[in-house]
Amino acid sequence: MKKPISIKLNGSVRAVEIEPSDILLDVLREKLGVKSPKIGCERGDCGVCTVIMNGRTVRSCLVLAIEADGAAITTIEGLQADGPTPLQQSFIKNNSFQCGFCAPGMVLSATELLAKNPDPDEEEIKEAISGNLCRCTGYEPIIKAIREVARNAPKSSRGKRR
């Protein structure tokens, strides 16, 4: 039985018809045209399906689309209104990714981290991205890029650590 839902996706309200058994990841990709969250394991183990839902990263393979009715969802497509963010630029400059499949999820996990904790140390960075599996890079250049953007952030954007 189809049900209409409404999601605020990357700033735009999108209405779509879904079935209760539809997974958010599949609806984002197939019905809403957002391809950056990927399908990797469909069990919440690998992190490539990560999206930001109501301000927090979630594994969209473990969310029913209907649970997202009324929610605000951000994917990396929505972060780039003014071009790649400083974090993304740091990833590009540092050659942080190889095959790139884990990149969208990593960007979002790192974005969430820096929003909560603008000056994370290496352990905190590793913890924040530990749910995003990367098979290619060994993580070093990803961690390096996040640390650089944290250290280079203007002082005014550094809030208190919660």
Binding site: M1, K3, E19, P20, S21, I23, D26, E42, R43, G44, G47, T50, R56, T57, V58, R59, C61, L62, V63, L64, I66, E67, S109, E112, E127, A128, S130, G131, N132, R162
Partner: protein, 296 residues
């Protein structure tokens, strides 16, 4: 994998509405909170409810509060809520320590402690922590409210004492009257996220009582009563620690599976108990190790 079987979905606005629905449908309906367990079960086809009941629309279920010496954890409190709660970090930091080792941030942002104990898998991390604090499971159902002590909650792997139509609303536990500190040690295959192959929780109270709970080394989380008796009333010494560790083989019943052997699990419980006892005692003195630090 798509969820192949169709189901209906409701999001009740009140607890009484939710209870009515659950009572009506019994085990044809399933509650979804964080969904991180249920969705996997449905994708595998292991569970095929006709109706999924989303209780995230019921207000007041997510609070973490401390009143009258009692900690109350709402059913919708997520593992991230535990980690970020100042109340938890100040008064019950071991809950945050445990939560930090559950899965990863994207899962913790959704998964709930109550969901964890409702799944009742032998390796659940929340069970031992709650057990060591003698927590109570609060439920509301068509026949009214119940308070179930945690040791009576787990009936076996994936089996709890929940009754038809009942919904867990919160967990409650009394803070020990004296100063206390705790330690949660989780055996994993590496530093990344992993289900517990064994876990040890130690609660040290300043009147020289210790409460010990074990996870993933029995069909359900268990207390180490014999070890608690041996330690009770004495300050922790090398000799006492040795005696406690010597009681481990009879206190736990690990199995051999693809994750670990019973020999290794059994051995590691002893090491984890030793290190956990030292850490809890040290924290009681206001010293380290920091909560969240790796001890094994």
């Amino acid at each position: 994998m798509a969820i192949a079987h169709p189901f209906d979905y409701v999001k009740p606005k009140s607890l009484s509405e939710a209870i009515k629905i659950m009572a009506k449908h019994g085990d044809r309906a399933r509650i979804i909170a964080g969904g991180t367990d249920l969705i996997c079960l449905m994708s595998d086809g292991a569970v095929k409810p006709d109706l999924v009941v989303d209780i995230k629309g019921v207000s007041g279920l997510a609070d973490i509060s401390f009143k009258g010496g009692k900690l109350r954890l709402g059913a919708l409190a997520t593992f991230t809520d535990l980690i970020e709660s100042k109340l938890i970090r100040d008064k019950f930091p071991v809950f945050a320590e445990m939560a930090g080792w559950v899965a990863s941030n994207g899962v913790r942002n959704r998964a709930t402690m109550v969901g964890n104990i409702c799944s009742a898998v032998p390796c659940c991390d929340s069970g031992p922590i709650l057990l060591v604090y003698d927590a109570t499971v609060l439920t509301k159902g068509p026949k009214g409210a119940r308070k179930i002590p945690l040791e009576k909650w787990f009936l076996g792997p994936r089996k709890t004492d929940i009754r038809r139509g009942e919904i867990v609303t919160a967990l409650e536990l009394a803070a020990p009257k004296k100063k206390h500190a705790a330690c949660f040690v989780k055996l994993r295959r590496y530093k990344g996220e992993d289900l517990a192959q064994a876990s040890v929780t130690v609660l040290a109270v300043s009147d020289n009582t210790f409460r010990i709970a074990f996870g993933s080394v029995a069909p359900k989380p268990i207390r180490g009563a014999s070890i608690e008796r041996r330690l009770k009333g004495f300050p922790l010494s090398e000799e006492r620690i040795k005696q406690a560790v010597a009681l481990v083989p009879k206190a736990v019943a690990p199995i051999t599976d693809i994750r670990s052997t019973k020999e290794y699990r059994g051995h590691m419980v002893g090491v984890m108990l030793e290190r956990g006892l030292r850490a809890a005692a040290s924290r009681l003195q206001g010293k380290g190790p920091k909560y969240g630090e790796e001890l094994i």
